[in-house]
Point group: C2
């Protein structure tokens, strides 16, 4: 993009994909039992484009309880230095099947799940996006996913 040109949908998606690729962490939005929006940083472990994202978490965590109660979720990728932010709106599933847990397991996860890949306190969260919005250079573009 140059000067005052308006970002188009294709450019917005390209900027969003680049931001996701460069982000080691992402902010995950949920709702607690009283309906307050909650936010937590999580590792951006694995994704399929802008549509599906997978995270690891403790089964006993607040986030698992919140998503079991209300699957409405969001992800926010941010580059504070370049005033660029990507909001994805969607739903979150809590998975505990062996395939999902093995697929997402990373070296060092024993720090969080001492019993390893079969630790009952190890769960996988799967986010599926419905739509997105990117803020970049003072412009907002919304898109369906």
């Amino acid at each position: 993009m140059l000067g005052d040109e308006k970002m188009n949908n294709h450019e917005a998606i390209t900027i969003a994909q680049k931001l996701v690729a460069e982000s080691k962490s992402v902010l995950v939005g949920s709702n607690d039992e009283a309906g307050f929006p909650n936010i937590k940083a999580m590792f951006n472990l694995e994704h399929n484009g802008l549509k599906e994202f997978w995270f690891s978490t403790n089964t006993s965590s607040k986030r698992v309880a919140q998503f079991r109660n209300n699957s409405k979720a969001s992800l926010y990728f941010v580059d504070f230095n370049n005033f660029c932010g990507l909001l994805l709106i969607g739903t979150m599933e809590v998975l505990q099947d062996d395939a999902s847990r093995k697929r997402l397991w990373r070296e060092g996860f024993e720090m969080y799940y001492p019993q390893g890949v079969d630790d009952p306190d190890y769960s996988v969260l799967k986010f599926t996006a419905i739509r997105g919005n990117i803020y970049h250079q003072l412009q907002n573009i919304s898109f369906e996913l």
Copy 2:
């Protein structure tokens, strides 16, 4: 804190205050009309301890519409490099009185509000915290505010 010692409430608040003081930006959580949690990065402009925070925004923005419809809000301060995150849960008010707008006005705000401090598209958001949770060194501590 040293080694495996459990962080106490006083230490948690001290770490939280330091994180807020060092944060130029903060993630602001809201709920949209369909009940999905939304997240947006905003400048951490002014605050009173961990209890009250003020932000500037466009009156025409999605966030203003969301908070007018549902005042439940959260703030999340994060230090990605040190795996430290502070979640504050509370409520958000939309203010447009002259005193609030003048108090929060900063050099360069003409970029967002071309008509200056009296621009009808310039609003102030005031967040009031109810409780907080800090994540630091694999520990979670919750506290009332």
